[in-house]
Amino acid sequence: MIKRSPASAARDATLTATALVLAALFVLFGAIALVALILRITPSGMSEALRDPVVAQALWLSVRTSLLSSLIIVVFGTPLAALLSTPFRGRAALETLVMLPVVLPPVVGGLALLLAFGRAGLLGRELNFFGLHLPFTTAAVVIAQTFVAAPLYIAVAKGVFTRVDPELLDAASTLHASRAYTFIRVVLPPAMPALAGGLTLAWARALGEFGATITFAGNLPGVTQTMPIAVYMAAQTDLQAAIAIAVILMVLSYGALLAVRHAAGDSGLGL
């Protein structure tokens, strides 16, 4: 009978211990930052922040813009991801283009949007003709969020669609299902949990978006001042208020992530 040598068992234990230590350090690093934030809250600071109309405005603006961005992302991103999962000439180029916002610093992204869709931008005259003035509007906030967050969803969706068993697609075609029918009935349903995870990721990114928003949409309470911008502004004058807003944002995000994880089952973010 061949047994494992004591040396290999010891090596195994060392590797496991090392992995655990590295993981713990990494988690602690992030956790300490969050804990430091929470420890500085005062009850009065929190209640004041919750009653501040500027905070309420920012919260409401952030929630509705991020939800709208997420809706746009899933409606436009899903077919785009489906397209990217099938081979065709120029696919690599299209994919690089779609993923570009991920590597662009957000402020650069905002500047690009401004140069494209601003009043004096590339499409300025055309948009003007239709009465669409984008900078400094809530619509611009949604555009900026969609721009930076869409690639996250599209990457996840594309991964899921590419991993479909080709034999299932074959079977569907022999059962006379068109490509669209196959996509809706065979590919999409089992992909839902993973897609939900990808959308949550995109939503979280949209919620936290700062640089592109302030560059393209500007900063005006009630119109374009989202929660992250409100936190930044508050931090310069009233640290307590900033912490309170930051904590509200954290609770909101974490709550939503938990809810989605619960709904999506144990596949979690499905990544």
Partner: protein, 351 residues
């Protein structure tokens, strides 16, 4: 009638296959793995586009390389049973079977009714609402068969359709399939590398080796005049069909073309009996042994097979024996010489 004549490159060799299947008939496509059997099925279904050739079903042309015609799978009346079932895991068995009809625009209720009928025919109606992922492979295979039949296809393509079902339980499924083929007039092509399945399923066999058809014909034609050692080994399975009636002592007698053979167990009615060539003992005279079955006849041919020889004997029914080259030499086996073949009842398998 299904007509195929295609040539295409398949990696390391070229596939060149032509075959015809009459409506209501089944054709078995056999060969070693990688010979091009599944590729042929895929070409018929439209999942593979051959480089040249023609595929037509009755007066519908599905593929013609010269006239640049290619009908996609959705437009071909083909049912495909995949070797790995390819069932839709997120749907129930019923929904899987109803899928094809619904994809064609049938009403939900009609599709579900038809699906129930088919599930019942293959003995899996009780699993209708179960998610397919929770089924055993034998159950999944039956659902896959039902699913392929639901749209009443003119051509039925089956890739190892019974492999996951226990040998003793294959008969009813096989009967149901063959019944459906005869009734609906579908032309069926079955891919298998199990000789017994091939012979039980189809009247015509086509043997593919490295993409080329090396022989086609009935099981007995292949057995009598094999053109390659693969064909010889494949067809050299002794498969007899006859009527059985039980006798005392836990045995039954099967009448095959008038010759009685003794088998173990209680069997009645139409049965198929298999005896492995390796279990057949040859001798010059009838031996004094415990073997209950004995056939006498002249040697038709002797085919070398490694260190052994496959001897085909024109007895009634004809039988193939496999003995060592040494034994063959000792017995002076040569065509025309009479020889006695004996085999035990315990070594016969009844289907």
């Amino acid at each position: 009638m299904l007509q195929i004549n295609v040539q295409t490159a398949l990696g390391r060799f070229a596939l060149a296959c032509d075959l015809r299947v009459q409506p209501g008939q089944a054709l078995a496509l056999v060969g070693a793995s990688g010979a091009g059997k599944t590729s042929t099925l895929r070409a018929i279904a439209g999942l593979l586009r051959p480089q040249c050739g023609r595929i037509s079903q009755d007066d519908e042309c599905w593929f013609d390389s010269e006239r640049h015609i290619f009908v996609p799978p959705q437009g071909r009346s083909c049912g495909f049973v995949f070797a790995e079932y390819a069932l839709f895991g997120h749907l129930s068995a019923l929904e899987n079977v109803a899928f094809g009809l619904r994809a064609c625009g049938s009403a939900n209720s009609f599709a579900r009714e038809r699906a129930r009928e088919l599930l019942e025919r293959f003995g899996v109606l009780s699993l209708a609402d179960r998610k397919v992922a929770s089924l055993s492979s034998g159950e999944m295979q039956r659902v896959a068969i039902a699913r392929a039949l639901a749209t009443s296809p003119a051509v039925l393509l089956l890739d190892e359709p019974l492999s996951a079902i226990d040998v003793e339980r294959r008969a009813p499924v096989r009967e149901a399939l063959l019944g459906h083929i005869a009734q609906s007039g579908a032309a069926a092509v079955v891919v298998t590398h199990d000789p017994v399945e091939a012979m039980l399923f189809a009247d015509q066999l086509i043997v593919l080796e490295r993409g080329t058809v090396v022989q086609r014909g009935s099981a007995s034609q292949l057995r009598e005049r094999p053109r390659s050692s693969y064909v010889a080994a494949f067809s050299g399975v002794n498969l007899f069909t006859g009527t059985a009636h039980p006798e005392a002592g836990g045995v039954s007698v099967v009448l095959i073309n008038g010759t009685p053979l003794t088998v173990l167990g209680s069997w009645t009615g139409h049965v198929a009996v298999v005896i492995d060539p390796d279990s057949v003992v040859l001798s010059k005279t009838r031996p004094d042994s415990s073997a209950r079955n004995c056939l006498i006849g002249p040697v038709m041919h002797a085919f070398p097979d490694g260190g052994a020889v496959r001897v085909s004997i024109a007895s009634s029914p004809p039988i193939v024996a496999r003995v060592t080259s040494q034994s063959a030499a000792d017995l002076d086996i040569k065509p025309g010489a009479d020889v006695v073949a004996t085999f035990k009842a315990s070594e016969m398998r009844v289907h």
